[in-house]
């Protein structure tokens, strides 16, 4: 326990406790438990279910995990440095590539931070378009997550393909609106890049109307499946205190019963105007994390319906914003949104030049991985894979 002065410095709570040095020993060879019965395997960076080039150094006793160390950086490209040497606008397409499933929410978080920095106002129609695209993004992200989770459980791709089938329709919408399916690069500081093509909103409505049918199908297939329940219930339980202390955000946080959804808390964009509920779990296990996503999708559909009913005509870009020669005044801003994976924040420091002086991304995927080892210890190799899948990481964002 590190020493810290001061009278009020209490003994840290259970969750916040610094873990003993043993918890940070690296390999089987390093520790005193190694009597030859432990097996150290390196899962990744080439492994089918690490969701990219992620590596876990796992020490096993039989098949029980006794130590697990995540290893990062295989996809590191120093996005922050690249953005600091380019103009504010030029960083926007790079944000697409952070969490490449959710480029539109990434755009939004960055745009929000810059708008805070430069004091830009977003026109109403643009705000509606942002809500619509963000909720569509949430749908397709959660759908894929559920599919990948089942894939990690060995479901030979069927749920994944159903998820991808629906995602395909949403990506078609993105393509019609933004010109690209995944790397949308749609939002601009103070609005959006272009208005909707004719008939686009009707297409969105069609997809939204069809979606519940798909969700019912998906739940028929899986949510009451005995194997799924046996594989996920009671597995990887995250306690409430640990989740808060470790900065876990998004559905993973809410699965342990913490009511913290930035759409409600910060009320950014137009979210205070919409009626939706925040589902909460009570167990914090893999099943709850999975169900959070399913329930959130239903709420997202509600938001989409309300937004489609109420979207007004109007401009889509703040007239004060400019594409060329954008130089915010010196200052700093931290903008954060509820991305599908958790709190995505952008912290910008401007020194008055066309390039950001400091450009920092708060990646939900990386920080949610803080508790990976805590969740996995004592479980099986097979559970490690599902726990990782239920945390929902994208390596583009973890390694940046």
């Amino acid at each position: 326990m590190p020493s810290h002065g001061g009278a009020t410095a209490k003994v840290p709570t259970e969750a916040g406790a610094p873990r003993g040095p043993d918890a940070y020993r690296l390999t089987a060879g390093d520790n005193e438990y190694d009597d030859g019965s432990l097996l150290e395997i390196s899962m990744g960076p080439q492994h089918p279910s690490t969701h990219g080039v992620f590596r876990m150094d796992v020490v096993l006793d039989g098949e029980t995990v006794v130590k697990l160390k995540p290893v990062f950086g295989y996809l590191h490209r120093n996005h922050e440095k690249i953005a600091e040497s380019a103009s504010y606008l030029a960083a926007m397409p790079y944000t697409d590539r952070l969490d490449y499933f959710c480029s539109l929410t990434n755009n939004w978080a960055y745009a929000l931070a810059v708008e805070k920095l430069a004091g830009l106002q977003v026109p109403e129609r643009a705000e509606f378009l942002r809500v619509i695209t963000a909720e569509l993004t949430r749908l397709q992200n959660h759908v894929c997550l559920a599919g990948f989770l089942m894939q990690d459980m060995g479901a030979s791709g069927t749920p994944l393909m159903y998820g991808f089938r629906e995602r395909e329709k949403i990506l078609d919408l993105f393509e019609a609106l933004t010109g690209a399916r995944m790397m949308c690069n749609y939002m601009r500081f103070g609005g959006c890049r272009c208005d909707t093509p004719p008939g686009w909103l009707e297409e969105v409505r069609k997809v939204v109307d069809r979606f519940p049918r798909f969700l019912d199908e998906f739940e028929n297939l899986l949510s009451s499946n005995e194997i799924l329940m046996a594989r996920t219930q009671g597995i990887g339980v995250l306690t409430r205190d640990l989740a808060i202390n470790a900065g876990i955000t998004g559905p993973v946080l809410r699965s342990c019963g913490v009511d913290y959804d930035l759409r409600k808390v910060d009320g950014y964009g137009l979210y205070p105007k919409f009626q939706f509920r925040v589902p909460l779990g009570d167990h914090g296990d893999t099943y709850d994390r999975y169900m959070m996503r399913i329930l959130e999708m239903r709420e997202s559909l509600g938001i989409l319906r309300q937004a489609l009913d109420a979207i007004p005509e109007g401009p889509i870009l703040d007239p004060k914003s400019k594409l060329r020669g954008f130089r915010p005044k010196p200052g700093e801003a931290y903008g954060r949104i509820e991305a599908p994976k958790g709190e995505l924040g952008f912290y910008l420091i401007s020194d008055g030049s066309p390039n950001p002086y400091r450009y920092r991304i708060r990646p939900p995927s990386l920080i949610n991985l803080t508790v990976l080892e805590d969740l996995c210890l004592g479980h099986n190799v097979a559970d490690t894979v599902t726990i990782l899948g239920s945390i929902d990481i994208v390596l583009g964002e973890v390694d940046r």
């Binding site: 840290p12 004091g119 700093e332």
Partner: protein, 237 residues
């Protein structure tokens, strides 16, 4: 199945035109530093707190705390019953290299002062910024800054991982990319760069090496550098 009904279908958006167009910022406000400081002075004797202003329109000021008392201040902020900043959202480093600024100073005899431009050297330092929120009270952010004395050898700061586990990976990242040494961090290893990497790439004076794997493209200075390097290597061997 639980909650399969589509609840939001019935709701319709309140279409009051006056309500639109106002972006609501985080509503719950945190106490100002003036309100907190007396309590804190009692709790942590000798702590110095300073407000760093922020001229951006959002105007979130940040609090600079001295590094000796940073850990106790962090515990105070987390455990104080009104603040309850139980959630550390973001940890980041900022590199402020040594810079010369020109200041206008009045000089000369009193009465016959002249405005003279002087160059002054501001010593460089590394800064770590913590964005704190409260999940319990749903307020925030409180921006906490800690600075190192310099950028050279004295780059250690207390780790706040004992207070917030969320700092664990982020402080590792700051260590990796900025070279801030966090004392008492349980696992201070490089996060993104590989072990054995020498420099800290996010520092402003970082010079990228010319021998990393390149994609040979036309009109590429990296290619030229790499080719020059190859030529040198061939010449020497």
């Amino acid at each position: 199945m639980a909650a399969t009904g589509d609840s939001a279908a019935g709701h319709r958006l309140n279409l009051d035109p006056n309500e639109f167009g106002t972006t609501s910022e985080s509503s719950a406000s945190v106490e100002t530093l003036e309100q907190i400081l007396p309590r804190m002075k009692v709790a942590i004797p000798g702590v110095t707190f300073e407000v760093v202003p922020n001229s951006a329109p959002g105007a979130e000021p940040s609090w600079l705390v001295d590094r000796e008392h940073a850990l106790s201040a962090a515990f105070f902020l987390r455990d104080d019953s009104t603040l309850r900043l139980d959630y550390c959202s973001n940890v980041t480093g900022v590199d402020w290299p040594e810079r010369t600024i020109k200041v206008k100073v009045r000089k000369g005899e009193p009465g016959a002062e002249k405005e003279v431009e002087e160059t002054r050297v501001v010593p460089g330092y590394l800064e770590v910024v913590y964005h704190l929120y409260s999940m319990a009270a749903k307020h925030g952010p409180v921006v906490l800054r800690v600075r190192t004395p310099g950028r050279g050898n004295d780059v250690s700061l207390p780790s706040l991982t004992p207070v917030w586990r969320s700092c664990e990976l982020q402080e590792r990242e700051v260590y990796d990319l900025f070279g801030v040494h966090f004392e008492n961090h349980p696992d201070l290893r490089r996060l993104l760069m590989w072990e054995g990497f020498k420099d800290h790439p996010m520092r402003k004076d970082y010079v990228p090496p010319d021998d990393y794997e390149y994609e040979p493209t036309p009109h590429d200075e990296i290619l030229e550098k790499a080719q020059a390097r190859l030529a040198r290597r061939e010449a020497s061997s």
